[in-house]
Amino acid sequence: MMTTATAMPLPARKPLGQRLLGFNLLTALILAVVGYWIGHLIGGAVHAPSIKYYSTEAGYNDISVFLGYLGGVIGFLTGLGFANYPVRRMLGHPPDLPGHAEVNEPGLWKYLRLSTDHKVVSLQYLAGIGIFFFVGGLNAMLIRTELLSPTTHVFGPNQYLTLVGLHGSMMMGMMTSGILGPFANWVVPTMIGTRRMAFPRLEALTFWLLMSAGVVLITTIFFGGFQTGWTGYEPLSDQGTAGFDAYVGFFALVGMSMTLLGLNLMVTIITMRAPGMTWSRLPIFVWAVFATCVLMVIATPMLIAVLLMGAMDRTVQTAFFEPGNGGSAQLYQNLFWFFGHPEVYILAIPGFGIVLELLPVFTRKPLWGYRTGIAGMLGVALLSFFVWQHHLFVSGINADLRPFYMLSTEMISLPTGFTFLCVMGTLWRGRIRLTVPMLFCMGWAFNFLFGGISGVFLSDVPSDVTTHGSFFSMAHFHYTIMGGLVFTFFAAIYYWGPKMTGLKFSERLGKWHFWLLFIAFNSTFGPLFALGFMGMPRRVVTYPLNLQGLNVWVSISAYFIAISMLIFLWNVVQSLVFKREPAEANPWQSKSAEWQLPTPVPAYDFIEWPDIGPDPYPYGEPVEDYSGAPAPVGGAA
């Protein structure tokens, strides 16, 4: 029980041999393999009678593959120790909270086990997502390598489409938690004044589910890959080999992880705020997390449901998406985008939060238009449920509703505009410090502006007829997701990294990273707008000869993105492995709660919560005449 403070010294470190026995990553991997084979055998037994009726043309038994994945994931989680508490509860042990003394353990061992400390989980998230981010980036490099030539020259069409699908799924699936996983898990409890998340075990579960999802996705290459891209449109996907089962398993696991992550963060924000931390005093990042979590909790279950329907079509021969047997391919499109469109705001809103959270620190001003910023993020979250059919503008389904969806889609630019207004208002007359995190925030503003404006072209149906499904839309969502999410992801790493790791990052390498990434990013994705306008459809392995010049330009720019990422990697390795220069407690002179903690942060975070007062952004010299301005938050005036 955490309510009483009792002495609990760190247990003595056991020798390695003994440590390997028990609940850890090694056991988990062994049990995952065992579980996979048990699931596979059961699937074979279930499936055996139906072989009489259905020919196995693809040579795979999807029931076995699905049950194998299920068994593998269960084995993996059991091996990590996730089954212990549920079994204890089943036997009637009262609910308790896990202690988390392991954060003070030296070495990396604590990261390879189930840990319930929010700081350890955050770093696990950062490393785990980082690995998959780099794998997804590598896929992008391979795609661009193939597109150096108008015909196939490095990969065959199947390999190429598998790469496209892997890149898309990896980035959309794994990076969805890219900010909420590492940073919200770390910062939100401290910002609202508590030492833990509401459900620490659930917090750890979301991470390990995400990791198992990533591994499941990669196993697709053993089953022949999948040709559907990250959207997995039916009925094409129903033709796919067992490689598509990996996609289904992957996204279902990601969906569960996302739903639980959102649920946990939301409950934490609702129930565990410190006394005095009213809703109108929450830092804007917490509001961004909250708005994102609403989407995660509501929209993601639909993804799980639609994947389940697809899996049933593939295993128990239902016909949800089979046009021949009463199903409809558009049912998939509708359900998928009902999740899929909120999903892109799940990616974008945390970025808004980070930019608005960081700007006051680096302009030495309070956040301009705090309530407007919140309204913007909640508005985006709400509107995102009413726009999904713009993905189906030329599909011929509900074509009469297109004016409505045109309006609702263009209305998204209103709350997004609020965010930009807050950014400009905060910059105005500030004392701007162009540190690395600030540079990345400004990069966000530049990229997202063009991402947003190109979105208006896509939302206007006549214009969309040309741009739909072309490289234009591809460029658009890379501007919003890579330019929006990834830039703020790096802003957050450079901003909170020193606090999270306790070590200093190189400012010089960070600036190199930013400028190379920023220029290479725009040089890569800017021309893609033109390529789309010139008639290049998405996901093609060949293209007309006259587009080769631009494509080569884009590919070479993309390699510079890769180089900038290598600079980042070198920065991280140098700081964490070689130099190990301890970071200052508050290098940015930030006034928010997490920066008032000492570095390195102790396991218990704080003894008394640093009371940051009624105003989350107490920066700036007081001015007398800001006529017409809303009263300072918290009613300090």
């Binding site: 509900n398 209103l414 701007i432 502006l449 306008f533 008639g535 996901r539 301005a629």
Partner: protein, 280 residues
């Protein structure tokens, strides 16, 4: 330290001047080259839309960029400045917030209304489903062409000429063409770039798109929806030809295919896709 420079006025002046210049450049220099060209009425309509959007977004983008740039240059902390100095604690300005909302809302409503009018006028070349809202031209003189997509090619049927099926797409100039797009297997998308036509081909569903051709030209056809391994190779080309040439072409094709035409499934708006059952 009180800064009395009229920053706001300076920025506003900068914005007005530069957006007049740049918008003029965009509208008069860039816009005529906007895709998908002026080959058909629908394509021209899309060019108009693209022009309006580009013309309106130029000042908006410029405003934001100028503001960001101005702030970053003018309000930057310079080496040697007192590091303890902070900015003014301005927390908002309700009149600016309100004006921003009013202006952006007006813009959005205008764009949505304009886009809807442009869309409903002539269908804009997009797929409108089986019961189109905007029917274009006189149904009697409209040429019907059925586009059948399958993995991985397009074929075309001309129901008014006996329903023969060919893999060549030719349509007459100065005519309204009604494309009936459907698919036999998975979702494809019929994208005739220069015509300004894009319509998804859904299995078991009819998707109608209209185009009003102008002068003769060649156009490219792509599949714009991922449809399997050879999606990248699913492209084609077509021709808009003079009416007389079309008449002779269609008679010749009809004759050429007549031995096979009666073996085909009779012309329908949809062809029931064969169920694709897989084992397990």
């Amino acid at each position: 330290m009180q800064d009395n420079t009229p920053h706001f006025r300076r920025l506003a002046l900068l914005w007005v001047v530069s957006s007049i210049v740049l918008t003029a450049i965009v509208v008069f220099v860039l816009a005529p080259g906007m895709p998908p060209g002026n080959g058909t009425v629908q394509a021209s309509g899309q060019v108009v839309d693209n022009t309006v959007l580009l013309g309106l977004s130029t000042p908006v983008a410029l405003g934001v960029l100028l503001c960001l740039g101005y702030c970053l240059i003018v309000f930057r902390e310079r080496p040697g400045d007192d590091p303890h100095l902070e900015g003014p604690a301005i927390r908002g300005n309700s009149s600016i917030q309100m004006w921003w909302l009013v202006v952006t809302t007006t813009l959005v409503l205008f764009l949505a209304a304009f886009g809807s009018i442009e869309l409903l006028k002539d269908g804009a070349g997009g797929g409108q489903g089986p019961n189109p809202l905007s029917v274009v031209g006189n149904p009697k003189s409209t040429l019907q062409v059925q586009v059948i997509a399958q993995q991985w090619q397009f074929t075309y049927r001309y129901p008014q000429y006996g329903g023969f099926e060919t893999n060549k797409l030719e349509i007459p100039a100065n005519t309204t063409v009604e494309f009936h797009v459907t698919s036999l297997d998975v979702i494809h998308s019929f994208w005739a770039y220069q015509l300004g036509v894009k319509a998804d081909a859904n299995p078991g569903q009819d998707n109608i798109a209209y185009v009003q051709t102008k002068a003769p030209m060649n156009f490219a056809v792509h599949c714009a929806e991922l449809c399997g391994v050879w999606h990248g190779y699913m492209f084609d080309s077509g021709k808009v030809v003079p009416k007389t040439e079309f008449a002779s072409w269609v008679t010749q094709q009809r004759k050429y295919f007549s031995p096979e035409t009666h073996l085909l499934t009779p012309y329908r708006h949809t062809y029931f896709p064969a169920p694709q059952r897989r084992g397990g």
